[in-house]
């Protein structure tokens, strides 16, 4: 039997992988993918909470499921904006490596 705790552990691991990817990887495309992973970790935990918080009438708590639809939409918009900025930068610099992007400094 899969419990709420199991889902939360998986979602926590996904979030950690995503965060590690954002922090450690140097390629911007992979960083964007890792960002998506972090958002989806939140989606997973929301859906799990919704499924396991059954109301007295036996229905799941639908608030979180509606929330997840909004997050999916927002994630798509975020990727669109991220890729657009990436293209603008690539045209100027011909690179997708974050190490090469250091015009602005302390």
């Amino acid at each position: 039997m899969i419990t709420l705790g199991d889902y939360l552990i998986v979602s926590g691991i996904l979030f950690a992988i995503g965060f590690a990817g954002v922090m450690l990887r140097r390629n911007l495309i992979i960083i964007l993918m890792s960002l998506e992973l972090m958002l989806n970790a939140a989606n997973l935990s929301l859906v799990a909470f919704s499924r396991f918080r059954v109301s007295p009438a036996g229905l799941p708590n639908y608030n979180a499921q509606v929330f997840v639809f909004f997050i999916i939409t927002v994630a798509a918009a975020e990727v669109a904006v991220g890729l657009a900025i990436l293209v603008a930068l690539f045209r100027a610099r011909q690179t997708t490596d974050v190490k090469d992007i250091s015009e602005l400094k302390f």
Partner: protein, 511 residues
């Protein structure tokens, strides 16, 4: 709840959205004609396209400003109190007041846009600015985690584009990318935190969460959720150690974007952060007093505040670019403002909001001066400002008002804001528990005086550097923008002389 009634209560947002669409349409149609001209003629006629672009810019700015003015009018006519969909859209005197403040700040950002020559697509730019304003208004007027998240994202995504908008400047795209990466990481943190809070309380409306939290004991998962949510907001207000995007964004972005991030985005973020911690997490206040720390959100915010004040002020000392200096000082000011939230009651919240509002007005003005100087000297390092007094006494005077207000010199608005904050923080705890935080803040203000005075020394004492002296010297008359800067300086002075005009209104509007 009929749709007509919904439209009436959300009329302010609706007007701004419609304005954004109109501006976008105008920008698209006129742009097409302009490119047609440049394609048809040879390179020599470049200025034809240029002047047409300037005309488009003027038309679009005028319509955007008009739309915002109408929207402010509709905000004045909103009912005093209303609640839609269990807190998704709330109208109280406080939200109406801050909607108006946000729109006024956006109005001045639009005025700054008018003279920005480097923006090749003014219609699109202004439309995005207006959409960001809608995001601000949603943030201010919602007491429900889903809507707050949507507002945050609408604001954030618009701002990323606004920062990266100047395609002719490679630094703009870089600043946009950094802002985007930090921003979306932190919004993922907020979202994960929200999901945990939802899981623990089973609900997303702030008032209901607070009722729920009062009854349950604090579990580790809930604590993680709260800290993660706070991290996301600490990023938005640029509190250390989540401030790393701010200097780059302030320096690399087109000036209206930087001014908007420093003002509107900050004000709305403080309003919503205050609502979340003081309404939603009210039972978990904790205690930030030095000897009697109790776990809760207020010690977390107190630590962020102290760190921001120290980091912001010390790093600002080393800057030689005015926009970077403003960015680091923004970090320090975020720290001061957090003190009000740590103090935590009605009075603390209103002190924080008074401070952040006056700060926002000051920064829009300072960026207005930077924009005018940058147009003439093509830069915003200290050397570009040297001897500004001989070139334009009026701008130099306004800049000194803004800088002295940021430093907290009476009789300017910044002085009263700091005084109000610190006195509230001292009174908040019977045993003066927040004295340590106030001491840190006073120490920080002392340091900040040094670098603000350096700016004034550059403007008033230094000789104009040769490169600038040989260039056509007099700042061209951009009357509207000068008037805007002068009006902002007058407001800063007025709020310093009669702080009650805003402070009493804020306190009365507090729930």
């Amino acid at each position: 709840m009929s749709y007509l009634e919904l439209l009436k209560l959300a009329s302010t947002e609706a007007v701004v959205v419609v304005t954004a669409l109109v501006v976008l349409a105008i920008g698209l149609t006129t742009r097409r004609e302009a490119t047609g001209v440049t394609v048809a003629t040879a390179q020599g006629d470049q200025n034809v396209g240029g002047s047409s672009s300037a005309r488009t810019n003027a038309i679009c700015s005028f319509i955007a400003a008009l739309g915002l003015a109408i929207a402010i009018g509709t905000a004045l006519m909103l009912p005093r109190k209303a609640t839609l969909f269990s807190g998704m859209l709330v109208i109280t005197p406080l939200t109406s007041l801050f909607k108006i403040i946000c729109m006024a700040l956006a109005f001045f950002a639009v005025l700054l846009t008018k003279s920005e020559k480097s923006l090749r697509h003014p219609g699109e730019y202004l439309a995005i600015l207006l959409l960001a304003t809608v995001g601000l208004m949603l943030l201010v007027s919602s007491e429900e985690l889903l809507m707050i998240f949507i507002g945050l994202e609408l604001l954030g995504l618009s701002l990323y584009v606004m920062v990266a908008f100047d395609k002719t400047d490679v630094r703009s795209a870089e600043a946009g990318l950094k802002y985007f990466l930090f921003g979306s990481t932190s919004s993922a943190f907020t979202l994960f935190g929200i999901s945990l809070i939802y899981g623990m309380s089973g609900i997303t409306s702030l008032a209901a969460i607070s009722e729920k939290l009062a009854t349950v004991s604090v579990q580790p998962l809930l604590a993680v959720g709260i800290v993660m949510t706070l991290i996301g907001f600490a990023f938005k207000i640029a509190a250390a150690p989540f401030h790393l995007w701010a200097p780059d964004a302030y320096q690399g972005a087109p000036i209206p974007s930087a001014a908007f991030i420093a003002s509107g985005s900050k004000v709305a973020s403080f309003v919503v952060l205050g609502k979340i911690v003081l309404v939603g997490f009210a039972p978990l206040h904790g205690d930030a007093a030095w000897h009697a720390m109790v776990a809760g959100w207020s010690p977390v915010l107190a630590a962020l505040a102290a760190l921001s004040i120290l980091v912001g002020n010390f790093v600002a000392l080393a800057q030689s670019n005015l926009r970077r200096l403003l960015a680091y000082s923004a970090v320090a000011h975020a720290g001061y403002t957090l003190i009000g939230l740590v103090a935590g009651d009605r009075e603390g919240f209103s002190a924080a909001l008074f401070y952040t509002t006056t700060y926002a007005i000051t920064l829009v003005g300072a960026f207005g001066v930077v924009a005018l100087v940058r147009r003439e000297t093509a830069g915003d390092d200290f050397s570009n400002f040297s001897g500004l007094i001989s070139r334009s006494p009026m701008l130099a005077g306004c800049m000194s008002i803004f800088m002295l207000s940021l430093a907290g010199i009476p009789p300017l608005a910044g002085f009263f804001g700091k005084f109000y904050l610190f006195s509230v923080a001292l009174r908040a705890d019977a045993g003066h528990g927040l004295l340590w935080l106030v001491a840190v803040a006073l120490f920080g203000s002392l340091i900040s005086l040094y670098y603000y005075l350096i700016v004034l020394k550059v403007i008033f004492v230094d000789e104009p550097s040769l490169a600038i002296a040989s260039s056509p010297d007099h700042l061209s008359p951009d009357l509207l923008q000068r008037i805007a800067v002068a009006v902002l300086a007058a407001v800063v002075l007025f709020l310093g002389l009669m702080p009650d005009a805003l402070a009493a209104g804020l306190l009365a509007a507090m729930p």
